[in-house]
Structures are given as C-alpha cells and as structure tokens.
C-alpha cells in the first residue's frame, strides 16, 4: 500500500501532467484539475479495488468511479495513465484529432477506465446510482464513487438523484463534491449561491462528511470513514474543500484558471513549483 508520502509524490507528478497537457494544446481546464489531484491519487492509488490492466465496462467485483464534472479530464487522464489503464505517453494526444483523450471524457473512443461520457453537467450522480443498483442486483459488494463540481449543483438533475439515492437506500454509493467555490463566471456565491451544503444534503437524507481535499492524510481518513458507512442504509456525501489551482501559486484561489491554458513562460513557472517524481511523459 502506498504511503502518504508516496501518494503526495505521485500527486506532484500528476499536477505536472495536468499543466503540460493543457499547455500543449492551449486549451482545457487546469484549475479544477489541480485542485482535485490529491483526491484522484488517493482514490486510484489507495482506495479503489480495481483492475487497471484488465479493464472491463461492467467492472464486476471492482469499485467503480464516475466523473460527473467531465471538464477536469486532465487530472483523470493523468491518474488513469499513471495507474496503468493506458500508456502514459498517450497523454501527449490530449484534445488532439483522433485521440482517445477527448476534451471531455467519453466511452466513445474506447479509453480504458472511462465508463460514461460526461461534460454536460449534472448527469453523473444518476449514472453512479444506476451502477450502484446494478451491483446490488448482482450481489456485488463493491462501492461506487462519483465526483461532482460545486457549481454543478446548480443543475436540477443532481437533486433528483439526491432524493432518489436516499429514498431508495443506495448505500453502496459514495459521492464527493469538489467545493472550491469557483465557477466560470466567478465565485459560486456571486453566480448562484449554493447556500448551506451540509444542511441541504442532510435534509435530503444523506450522511455528510467534510474533508480537506488538499491534505492527503485527512482525505484518506475521511474516505475510509465513508467506506465504513457503506451498507448501512444511507448514501454518503463528502463535501471536499479544495483550492482551485492547488500547487501552482499564480493559479490558486481564482476562477480565472478554470478553463485557460498557461503560456510557455507560465508553464515553466508552474513546473518549477512541481517536483518531477515519476518522470514526465
């Protein structure tokens, strides 16, 4: 099992992969990707029971992960590649013609690790619920995880799903919201305030946990806690506070780096702040 220190080193490399992917095509979403790097590394290198080498769409007997806010594809692609789903060199093809690494993740080009297209927001929780129900019917005790943006909670379908999961005791589902407080047009408070998220999810009948998404040790403790909650009659929500752009000082704390790529100079600056631990692709 990877140690906290090792996981942090992997996360540093993943952050390099993110800024390099986005820089290479001068497009993509670095802010949310950097903020969620620790979460993805914790999940794929420590939490998930999964088979990167023998990917199957059904994933029977494996934990499953669904990314609902598909625009943070650079962090997912990096972690999928680094954990062995496909060659790391393929990160070079991100957002290019004829690539399996589409701007937003998709099953359409057959990229191992992806089980559902996402990009149009608000749909991932419903899909994760479906996969969790399928596991229950199959007598499969594995857990289904999903990640959502906080701005994404403005989509109504999320609340349809929230209501359904609690009412139907979908307790093999652990969802996480990336609470970075930012969306394209500004802070979530400025655009459309989300109000009291804990109170909202509790009122919908979920068990709610808080986590610092940029502290590896705490993150793992909280996800382990959530896992212990599985099978007890309620879905679990982790409200994960992150800093958008985490790891690159000039990208942190602002919505401005939601969907903007760094130029050559900015890339060099960013990379100087992120240690190369596993070797660049």
């Amino acid at each position: 099992m990877a140690t906290i220190k090792e996981l942090e080193q992997i996360a540093s490399q993943v952050r390099r992969d993110i800024v390099r992917q986005v820089h290479a095509v001068n497009s993509g979403h670095p802010g949310g990707s950097l903020g969620c790097a620790d979460f993805f590394v914790a999940l794929y290198f420590r939490i998930l029971n999964h088979k990167p080498q023998g990917f199957t769409m059904d994933g029977n007997g494996e934990d499953l992960f669904f990314l609902s806010n598909g625009h943070i594809s650079p962090v997912w692609y990096s972690v999928l590649a680094r954990s062995g789903y496909f060659p790391v060199a393929e990160l070079k093809t991100f957002r290019k013609l004829n690539s399996r690494l589409q701007g937003h993740p998709t099953t359409h080009e057959g990229l191992p690790g992806v089980r559902m297209a996402s990009g149009s927001l608000g749909q991932g929780m419903s899909v994760a619920i479906g996969a969790a129900l399928s596991k229950k019917l199959n007598g499969d005790k594995s857990i289904v995880y999903s990640l959502h943006g906080d701005g994404e909670l403005q989509e109504g379908q999320v609340w349809e799903a929230a209501m359904y999961a609690a009412a139907n005791k979908v307790d093999n589902l652990i969802s996480t919201i990336d609470v970075n407080g930012q969306q394209i047009d500004g802070s979530t408070d400025e655009v459309l305030s989300l109000g009291n998220l804990r109170a909202k999810w509790e009122a919908f009948g979920w068990d709610v946990l808080d986590a610092n998404g940029n502290n590896m040790e705490e993150l793992i403790t909280i996800i382990d806690l959530a896992k212990m909650n599985a099978g007890k009659g309620k879905p679990t929500m982790i409200l994960m506070k992150t800093e958008m752009g985490m790891g690159v000082d000039f990208m942190m704390g602002s919505h401005k780096w939601h969907g903007v790529a760094p130029n050559d100079e900015q890339l060099a600056n960013a990379l100087s702040q992120l240690q190369e631990t596993l070797g660049d692709y």
């Binding site: 990009g119 749909q123 419903s126 899909v127 129900l133 799903a161 209501m163 359904y164």
Partner: protein
C-alpha cells in the same frame, strides 16, 4: 386483404406491458424503470411479478435516464417507461450524452405519442419525438402499429445490443398483425402488394393506410402498403424496390412532417430515385384537446387524407 377482417381492438401500450412481462420471465437481466406512470404504461404486471427488478423513480425523468444508463454497467437491460414527451424532449441531453454517445444498452419505451393521446392536449402530444431520436447517432427508432407488433418489438429489442427508442400509444386500435410474429428491427413489412402507388406508413397510420388502399380500389387504384415500423435504420432496399415498381409514393405518420418518416423517405428518394412523394403528417403545428379520431381528422391524418395524397402522388408521376 386478410388484415381488414380483423376486428379486435387493443392498445399498443398494453402490447408493451405484455411484452415486458414476458421478457421478465425469460431474461433475468431485463429491468424496468418508470417515472410515476406505471398504470398508463401498463408496467404494473411486471412490477407485481418482479418487484426487485422494477424501479420507481418518481416524477424525475432526467434521473431515470441516467440511472438506466448506469444500470447497463453490470449487464442489466433497462427499459424506461413514460410518455413520449417526457421520454424524449424533456430528457434529450441525458439521452444524448449518457445513453447515445456513451453507447448504452437502454430501451426507451414511450407511450401516449402523437395526437391520439387525445384530450390532454398539446403539452403532452409530442409530434417531434421521431425526429429528435433519429438524429442521434446509433439510435434505433421504432414505431409499432398495433398490440401484437408492439409486444413482439418489445421482446425483440432486448436481444439487440444498443440504444433503442420504442414509440407506441394510448388508444385502442385494431389488432391486425399476426399474434406470434417475429419482429425484425429494420425490416419493412409489405402488407398489401400493389402497382400504382407505394404507401409507407408507421404507427397508428398503418391501419388507416390499409383502409385507404381498400377504398382506392373503387377508383381502380392498386396501392402497395408497407409498414415501416423501424424509422431508423430505414429499410432502404424495401422503399426503393417498391417505388421502382410504382413510380410514386405517400408517407403517413402521426408526427411533424419535419423530421419524421416522410422526411427520411424523401432524403432516400432524392438521392437515389427522384419520384413524387406526398406526405401525410402534421404540418408545423401543435395539437389540441379532442378525441383521437377528431384530431386525426382535423390535422389531416385520416383515411381521406391518405386517399387524397395517393391520388396526388399518382398525378405528379411523369
């Protein structure tokens, strides 16, 4: 014509319910989801028989489509049930991204399609669903004509791997196709051979077209009637073979002219065999409250309209 002796009436939605129940018995992977319209969709027998495989989502169609997409992961074959309006227009983006683009094996089963929904009026009478669904890459689009065919189609789509839109309706209509027919996706059925004009019909207008063909005999017109139960993939071979013989065509459907069956046939004929085509369809209009028969008459989808279209098409033939 053998079919015209049929008198028993039944609703196509009951054919769906019967097919689904049958499927439940023979295929343990078939599961059903419904958004608060179990009785209307005739899914209650399945719910009663297989409660562990029935999922009531409440009035939340977007969530239902997403759950259905997710349930395919792990090998389930989900059949969603709600009205055609809420099965398509209301959830178009969910179907597009989570089902069609993701290539998920979901069967979207839609009742109360078209004007024959009747008194509920235009909010519920979707006339755009075939067009919406046929534009999605990889989506199979089926519109069955009677109880027996709907039951057969419901069972057949479970054996097809990929997303399917199955459209049927509310009113009791003559059940004239064979009881234990084999349903072949994409294979048109010639119901009546003829040499003067080809009538391509789908859904409830298939029966109307048979009646029109019978009436046309009195004017010495020998019409061919073809049941196009699958709008996509269209049986291009059957359409072209018939029009090659007759030299002119009519399309008949309970749908907008834009985007429907006639539109697909027009595209095919223009590219391969430019011959006259008259379209019996709703012409850029919403419906309204009324009885199914009153509405079909008012909106030009009745037997006299098909007769008129057939004569017009023959007249345009050079």
């Amino acid at each position: 014509m053998e079919y015209l002796s049929a008198t028993e009436k039944n609703d196509t939605r009951s054919g769906f319910g019967a097919g689904l129940l049958e499927l439940g018995k023979i295929n343990p992977n078939v599961i059903a989801l419904c958004a608060d319209l179990t009785g209307s969709l005739k899914m209650d027998a399945f719910e009663k028989e297989f409660p562990e495989r029935f999922f009531q989502t409440g009035i939340a169609e977007a969530n239902m489509m997403g759950i259905a997409a997710g349930m395919t992961i792990g090998g389930k074959i989900p059949f969603t049930g709600t009205f055609a309006n809420f099965s398509t227009g209301r959830v178009y983006d969910q179907i597009r991204q989570s089902i069609a683009y993701s290539g998920k094996n979901v069967k979207i089963c839609a009742s109360h399609a078209g004007l024959t929904l009747g008194e509920d009026g235009a909010t519920h009478q979707i006339l755009e669903d075939l067009g919406l669904m046929k534009m999605l890459p990889g989506m199979v689009v089926i519109n069955t004509c009677d109880y027996n065919q709907t039951k057969a189609a419901t069972m057949a789509i479970a054996d097809y791997q990929g997303p399917v839109y199955l459209r049927f309706g509310r009113p009791k209509v003559v059940n004239f196709t064979p009881k234990d027919q084999k349903f072949e996706i994409g294979k048109a059925i010639v119901l009546k051979q003829g040499k003067d004009v080809s009538i391509f019909a789908t859904g409830h207008l298939v029966w109307k077209s048979l009646l029109a063909a019978e009436a046309l005999k009195a004017d010495g017109i020998d019409a061919e009637v073809i049941n196009i139960h699958t709008i996509k993939p269209l049986d291009e071979t059957a359409v072209l073979a018939s029009v090659s013989k007759t030299g002119c065509a009519v399309s008949a459907e309970e749908h907008q002219m834009n985007g429907g069956l006639g539109d697909s046939i027009a595209q095919l004929l223009c590219r391969n065999l430019p011959k006259p085509l008259e379209m019996v369809a709703v012409n850029d209009s919403f419906g309204e409250s009324g009885t199914p028969e009153e509405l079909l008459t008012k909106y030009g989808l009745d037997v006299p309209d098909i007769i008129k279209a057939a004569k017009a098409s023959i007249k345009r033939r050079v």
